[in-house]
Assembly symmetry: C2
Homo-oligomer: 155 residues x 2
DNA sequence: TCTAGAACCTCAAGCTACTTGAGGGTCAAG
DNA sequence: CTTGACCCTCAAGTAGCTTGAGGTTCTAGA
């Protein structure tokens, strides 16, 4: 196959068409070859590049990190250690986020539980749980790092 | 205290000054009273309102959800059940997110592990792990819902 | 009383990673 | 030759703030 159009590449890689164009616009993918009419043409090599990028994103690496990884992949003088370190650092923040969510889940559990038992269906202004929150008594773990899953989702 | 300025309110509630102004701009806080000079003045009641909002945000409720909760708090004809249901639904998505992160952490662990053992410091283009990703062999759980922690962090 | 600096004001733009929409060409089949 | 699927380029919208520019007001000390 010596030239697939953007829709075919999208289908092959599980990427949306606008996302591919977006990646090109921000320079994550190099500018694609064009037909005379202006439509983009991709080679099988492009499939590899985009697949790689998608996998990186599945690993939840940020675009900036993916840039680094993409560069690694084409630089013969680079070392795979860089990738390893990126992943290791990322793993740390994922674990942090998990701890945060565990604490949040516990807080939500007691929120729900107390709504049922301590309050039990009163009006908003009279709700004991909401009242506690207004007075700063009922707390949840303060939110911190937004590095994990830091963007609106993809359809 | 019959009137504190925005800086004092910020200190009391652990909110940044721009964030308070932002909440006012989007109508989450009602427009504050002003001095003749235009500087905002807050009452102790405002402390309660903002504290409530902050707590809701600590529970990671979205701004839209906080709006609902704030309205509950001042509507005598409302029922606390609404809050309970919001929290319960939120808990479900938090647990989903945790599962997702657990899977992601496992993938990252094997990424790091294989970088050390299977590849062990080769150049980027020759790295076995990166090569697998380019070929779509090494996968991570596809990223989905961005509802939890979906925004840039607060300092 | 004057003045320096802290604190306040209002826009406007930036951040992440895309998605969505408007308005319009291109291409393949019937 | 028309129809409909697919392609193009901007531009703006999403969440939840933060940051910056450019300017006013307040307050405490000399």
């Amino acid at each position: 196959m010596q030239g697939m159009k953007i829709g075919a590449l999208a289908a092959r890689t599980g990427t949306s068409v606008p996302t591919i164009r977006y990646y090109e616009a921000i320079g994550l993918l190099q500018r694609a070859a064009r037909q005379e009419s202006g439509q983009r043409l991709y080679s099988s090599e492009d499939i590899g590049r985009l697949t790689f990028i998608r996998r990186c994103r599945d690993f939840d690496f940020s675009i900036a990190q993916v840039r680094v990884l993409v560069d690694l992949l084409r630089d013969p003088s680079s070392t795979c250690t860089t990738a390893r370190d990126l992943a290791a650092a990322h793993l740390v923040s994922v674990r942090d986020k998990m701890r945060e969510l565990r604490a949040l889940a516990r807080s939500l559990e007691s929120f729900v539980h107390d709504c049922d038992t301590a309050c039990g269906g009163r009006s908003g202004p009279d709700c004991t749980v909401l009242g506690q929150m207004r007075r700063g008594e009922r707390t949840a773990p303060p939110r911190r790092a937004r590095s994990i899953a830091a963007a609106p989702g993809r359809a």
